[in-house]
Symmetry: C2
DNA sequence: CGAGTAAAGTCTACATTGTAGATGCAGCGT
DNA sequence: ACGCTGCATCTACAATGTAGACTTTACTCG
């Protein structure tokens, strides 16, 4: 046997770091869901005492913030792109894919900001916002209009992602659509449309639907906002 | 003194009921937030043993579902309204107001469906969906198109609500905007736009912004979907 | 009116969670 | 060699959700 003192024992005794902690936290959440991310469990996953985690995150809450930040940092934004509509479209699709890759993190992305005032959020979380504003201002919008565009855009985007994840098919083994979505439980007389739409629900093409919505929204915003070049005083 | 046997002692010994339990749960959440809603605390609030709650909700999770359901049931939908755009607009504003009245419940509305397949959700939660579909079909959309409209609409609506709540002003006592939103903490060089937009952030008129977005989206959807009257087979 | 039954409410107990606080332990500069 | 500084661990505790056995209440039927 090698001396257990200095040998790293495969991966056991590597030095901890915030990045490592957050990365394994994310893995854990992806694999087993948010509830599995307890301090004890994460400690065990790292081969360390649970208490050591508190060096790298004040709280469990801060840890969760860290995980959202980690995910959002994987979202590339090219703020110099001259074609703002194309760029926003691409960002949207990228975020959608991110969400599909880390569905268990989505509740965090959506929920945590509700309990944290804008300025106190993890900086990584705010970067996309600032970058998108820069993109829009660079494309010729006034800062105030850029904010309006951002809000409509991001609102729609988040809403779409939530919607799509909510409709996710549950039991792909089952090929009877009513069963797959659990719709058979619904009283047929009170929910005729919903039940009848089972096939349509099953064929949901999220990417296409997102794209359509964006087309509508972006061109609408464009025409509406370029017409009023600035806020006239009073 | 009145005989303590049959007297209700102010409000103490009224018989429990699911409605009563859920109603006080909602009060508690509104007043002190989601974390305050523990079984023990709710029991105390009702003057009963915590365990008695399990007669009226299987779980804490089920209890949370019940609360969302309760809130969503306060949302009126007039599915016979011939003017679908006006009706959708009104629903949107009503839901927005509901959300502002019960901000602590919003995380539930948004998050719980992510862990529950469509057909297994509390029925009260699905009723708005069915009703809106009915409204759209009644207005002349094919069921499949109605679903598309619903998705874009509800997605945008939920997104807007989340956005608006996230930007909520923290400390209205403080009248320096940068402070109110905690923006002073942001490094000025990395977040110039965000900081410069502080006044605009503070004057956010959610209702107006929601309405604008709806105008764009609804008319866009209308023109796009009435052009293709039905899906042609392959 | 009085006994029996089912529902409603309570008590006790336990495993699991986040986290405070004290303790141990490495490696460094002097 | 010494102590200092940051990392890691240990122990302990209060709070939570909930199972299971028990008691109390209310109501029905003879």
């Amino acid at each position: 046997m090698a001396s257990p003192k200095s040998a790293p024992a495969a991966d056991r005794k590597a030095r901890l770091s915030r990045e490592l902690v957050l990365a394994t936290a994310l893995e854990l959440v992806d694999a087993e869901g948010l509830d599995a991310l307890t301090m004890r469990r994460l400690g065990q996953e790292l081969g360390r005492d649970p208490m050591s985690l508190y060096r790298y995150a004040e709280n469990r809450a801060a840890l969760l913030d860290g995980v959202s930040e980690l995910v959002l940092n994987e979202l590339p934004v090219h703020e110099e792109d001259p074609d703002w509509k194309a760029q926003l479209r691409q960002i949207a699709h990228n975020l959608r894919l991110l969400a599909l890759q880390h569905p268990n993190v989505v509740p965090l992305l959506v929920t945590r900001p509700l309990s944290t005032p804008l300025g106190l959020r993890p900086l990584g979380t705010l970067r996309p916002l600032e970058q998108i504003l820069a993109l829009l201002v660079g494309a010729g919008f006034s800062p105030a209009d850029a904010l309006h565009v951002y809000r409509a855009y991001y609102g729609f985007l988040y809403g779409h992602i939530l919607n799509e994840l909510q409709e996710f098919v549950v039991d792909p083994e089952e090929n009877e659509v009513l069963l797959r979505l659990g719709l058979h439980r619904l009283p047929a007389k009170e929910f005729p449309l919903l039940r009848a739409l089972a096939p349509a629900l099953a064929e949901y093409d999220g990417s296409a639907e997102l794209d359509q919505g964006l087309t509508i929204l972006l061109s609408g915003l464009e025409s509406q906002l370029s017409l009023q070049p600035a806020h006239s005083p009073a």
